[in-house]
């Protein structure tokens, strides 16, 4: 058994709007002159500490939990599950 840190990043799919990101971009970033930044997308970040025998198993368990517990909506969201570097 060893401890693994697994990161979960949930964002809206590419075609889906992100009013929060748009607001941050338009009303904060552009207003303060950072015109090099051309867009902002927001999302949700989860860091899970997982006790398993292998890193693969840790990823699998986290993926399953996110799916089964509906931590994200597969119809609207993209999910990225990865080990913390």
């Amino acid at each position: 058994m060893s401890t693994h840190l697994v990161e979960v990043i949930i964002t809206s799919k590419a075609g889906v709007r992100d009013p929060e990101g748009e607001t941050i971009h338009k009303h904060l970033i552009l207003k303060k002159g950072y015109s090099a930044i051309t867009s902002v997308r927001t999302g949700k970040y989860l860091l899970m500490t997982v006790n398993t025998n292998s890193a693969e198993e840790a990823l699998k368990i986290v993926k399953e939990a996110c799916e089964k517990l509906r931590i994200y909506n597969p119809i609207v969201h993209d999910i990225e599950v990865r080990l913390r570097a």
Binding site: V16, R17, P19, E22, N73, I75
Partner: protein
């Protein structure tokens, strides 16, 4: 739903040539069931829509009724059933956004939201996820635009496990002389304000006009994300534009997008329009077709006369609201759409806006017989205490605290009677007077699925009673008919019967149906319809909000009176379902004459200050109504069932749990009992002075000298407050 071959043929005839792809898309959007009401329009004519209070009836985005001589109330209901099944959070949130914009179109200030949610069983994992998402979506959107969610209705039922019904309503108030009712002239400008148009929600109305696909993953284009920040800017900017009388006409860009907004506006005014699509502000590069039918949220159309254009533009810029002036109205009744100088569509507005109505085939299924079945051989009666506990903990009856505590129900400081305490919400106008209004939404999916005609009539009656119970005079209703697939005769029959029941009861109770919505195709991917449901939202006038009445018991030694007569009517009751697992039998009869008579007594008694508390009897029957009043007031009661007027009752459970209509439980002030009795006598209303309020926390039911139930109020309260556990601990 794509156009049928006959419809394409008809379009050719209208245009006298082959339609362009843009024109076809416009027709597809506008002729969808969602926008055109083609299957329902003929039957909707049955509804009584006129009345002395009606200022604007059906036809506009929202109706207006006169609340007081100088104030109008604008209210409307909307469904977001299909989007909420796919993406509960955003689906429900955008439903709120849409209904708020409908209210804005008459120049009213939105002051209250209602949510009528018919969802799956909390212990079903998928349904549980939908429930949480829907409630959170409504909560976040409503809270962020600063409009309180003050009332609603909730039902949990296996029939809604995959396809919930999310009906939302908004109420706005406006001084009568500020209503935006201007007439449009040729040459007036068409401005689109609010969000930039994008690819989101492409042909969403067509999506709502067909059954859910098994693989909803592919419906990504129909997913919309709510943008409450922009909505709030729309609300604020429109308030200014309206108060300075700068706009003649306002319309929401909802289902059907730009196409619907322009075609309906033109058709209603006998005008045409010339549109330059390239002027529309956009979020991404779109084809003319996409620009015409995109259903991007938080957009509105406003009409401005030329001399006021610059002033309007200045205000919109100041409010940081994006806008574009996309064209002008014309005299010829034809909508011409150009993109960079190239004409992409030329369509007569009237023919586009109003497709030929269809009279659908209608046929009762064999299943409809269960509503005609008299109940005469029920299983033996259970323990009354056990039955009462079961009912109080049923999600359909239990306190909806878990839901309304997620909502801000006080923002705006108008809310007088808050969720959970009264049969309806009561709000003050906040104009310096003590005037106000009451509002409530109601439905009973079980009734309408067993007996759609009488079930729909009972929804109207329950809404009527709820308003009366807080001391409000009901003045108008709006309706939402949630039905199955109109192309299936056995689904359409339910719609037809619900509509007829609604029309009949509204007429009998003298409640004009000033607006409403129809939602079809509420079926799962196997083609089973959900329980067809008639949702009614009603408003009532409150002359003095300080006299509004809640349902919690207030004073020991006061007297418990039952208003109305109880019949053995257990068919379709929550008791029959929870205790015996049965969903059948004759549902309670609608009793319009008794409703009117009994309501008059309640309103008079409230006015004279004879009562401490009033609660209408509905789901769960008399025993549940009584228990709710005791639990909320934290005072015990003792009632002798022998004293409760009933006819033909053979068993005690019929007396305790029948959901007979036109009844109320009233707490009469101990020193006003004689007055109350005389008043009832004079009005010819049957009342039963059957018990009294105790100063110890216990609910006691007697039959003469025999105690048939004695329950600790604390235990009953635990059952009543169990919804949170059902949802949080459910999945």
């Amino acid at each position: 739903m794509p156009l049928t071959q006959e419809e394409v043929e008809e379009i050719r005839k209208i245009l006298g040539r082959e339609p362009t792809v843009e024109e076809l898309a416009m027709f597809e959007a506008q002729w969808s069931e969602h926008c055109s009401y083609k299957s329902s329009r003929l039957l909707l004519k049955l509804l009584p829509t006129e009345g002395m209070h009606v200022v604007v009836g059906p036809g506009r985005d929202a109706p207006a009724v006169r609340l007081f001589k100088d104030f109008a109330i604008v209210f409307k209901i909307e469904s977001h059933n299909h989007p909420s099944a796919v993406d509960p959070y955003d689906g429900a949130a955008t439903g709120i956004g849409g209904i708020v914009r409908d209210i804005l179109t008459l120049g009213a200030k939105p002051v209250a939201l209602l949510d009528m949610l018919y969802m799956g069983e909390p212990w079903d994992p998928h349904a549980n996820w939908l429930i949480r998402g829907i409630v959170k979506g409504i909560s976040d959107y409503g809270n962020r635009i600063g409009v309180p969610t003050v009332a609603g209705d909730t039902w949990f039922d296996y029939a809604f496990n995959t396809q919930p019904l999310v009906n939302v309503a908004c109420v706005g108030i406006v001084p009568l002389n500020r209503l935006v009712l201007g007439s449009i002239r040729p040459g007036d400008y068409i401005i689109i304000m609010g969000n930039a148009t994008g690819r989101d929600g492409l042909l969403g109305s067509s999506f709502a006009s067909k059954p859910l696909a098994e693989d909803t993953d592919k419906e990504i284009g129909a997913v919309q994300v709510g943008d409450p920040l922009t909505e709030k800017l729309l609300i604020d900017a429109l308030q200014i534009l309206v108060s300075r009388r700068l706009v003649k006409y306002i319309k929401d860009l909802g289902g059907g997008g730009l196409t619907t907004a322009i075609s309906e506006t033109c058709a209603d005014h006998g005008l045409g329009a010339a549109i330059e699509l390239e002027k529309l502000h956009i979020r991404q590069k779109l084809t003319p077709l996409e620009l015409l039918v995109s259903e991007s949220q938080e957009r509105m159309l406003v009409v401005v006369e030329p001399v006021k254009l610059s002033e309007v533009e200045e205000i919109l810029r100041n409010y940081d609201v994006m806008y574009s002036v996309i064209g002008r109205f014309t005299e010829d009744g034809v909508i011409k759409v150009f993109c960079n100088g190239v004409k992409v569509a030329e369509v007569p507005a009237k023919e586009l806006a109003r497709p030929r109505a269809v009279r659908r085939v209608s046929h009762p299924p064999a299943e409809a017989l269960k509503g005609l079945k008299p109940l005469y051989s029920l299983p033996p009666e259970p323990s009354y205490e056990e039955a009462l506990t079961k009912l109080l903990s049923s999600p359909n009856i239990a306190s909806k605290r878990w839901i309304y505590e997620q909502y801000d129900h006080e923002v705006g400081v108008r809310t007088v009677v808050k969720p959970g305490l009264g049969d309806a919400a009561v709000l003050r106008l906040l104009d310096g007077s003590s005037r106000g209004f009451a509002i409530k939404g109601d439905a009973n999916p079980r009734y309408t699925s067993i007996d759609p005609f009488n079930g729909a009539a009972n929804s109207v009656a329950e809404c009527f009673r709820n308003l009366v119970a807080v001391g409000a005079k009901p003045i108008a209703i709006v309706d939402e008919l949630n039905a199955g697939n109109p192309e299936k005769p056995e689904h359409f029959w339910y719609f037809e019967m619900m509509l007829k029941g609604l029309a009949w009861m509204a007429e009998e109770l003298r409640l004009p149906v000033v607006g409403g919505k129809v939602s079809f195709y509420n079926e799962d991917h196997r083609g089973r319809q959900v329980k067809p449901t008639t949702t009614i939202v009603g408003v009532g006038r409150v002359k003095d909000v300080s006299r509004a009445v809640t349902m919690d018991l207030k004073e020991s030694d006061s007297v418990i009176a039952v208003v109305g007569v109880t019949y053995p009517e257990l068919g379709g009751s929550e008791y029959l379902y929870k205790v015996f697992g049965l969903e059948e039998g004759e549902i309670p009869r609608p009793r319009p004459a008794s409703e009117l008579r009994n309501a008059k007594l309640i309103l008079k008694a409230v006015e004279l200050g004879l009562v401490n508390a009033v609660h209408d009897i509905s789901v769960g029957g008399f025993a549940v109504a009584l228990a709710e009043m005791a639990i909320l007031g934290n005072l015990g009661v003792e009632v002798d069932l022998d004293l409760v007027h009933a006819r033909g009752v053979m068993r005690l459970d019929e007396l305790l749990f029948s959901e007979t209509q036109a009844r109320y439980v009233v707490e009469v002030k101990s020193n006003r009992v004689e007055e109350f009795k005389r008043l009832a006598q004079r009005m010819g209303v049957r009342i039963s002075l059957a018990g009294r309020v105790l100063d110890k926390p216990v609910l006691i039911l007697l039959k003469g000298s025999k105690t048939i139930l004695s329950a600790d109020l604390g235990l009953l309260r635990d059952s009543y407050n169990s919804l949170e556990k059902a949802i949080e601990g459910g999945a």
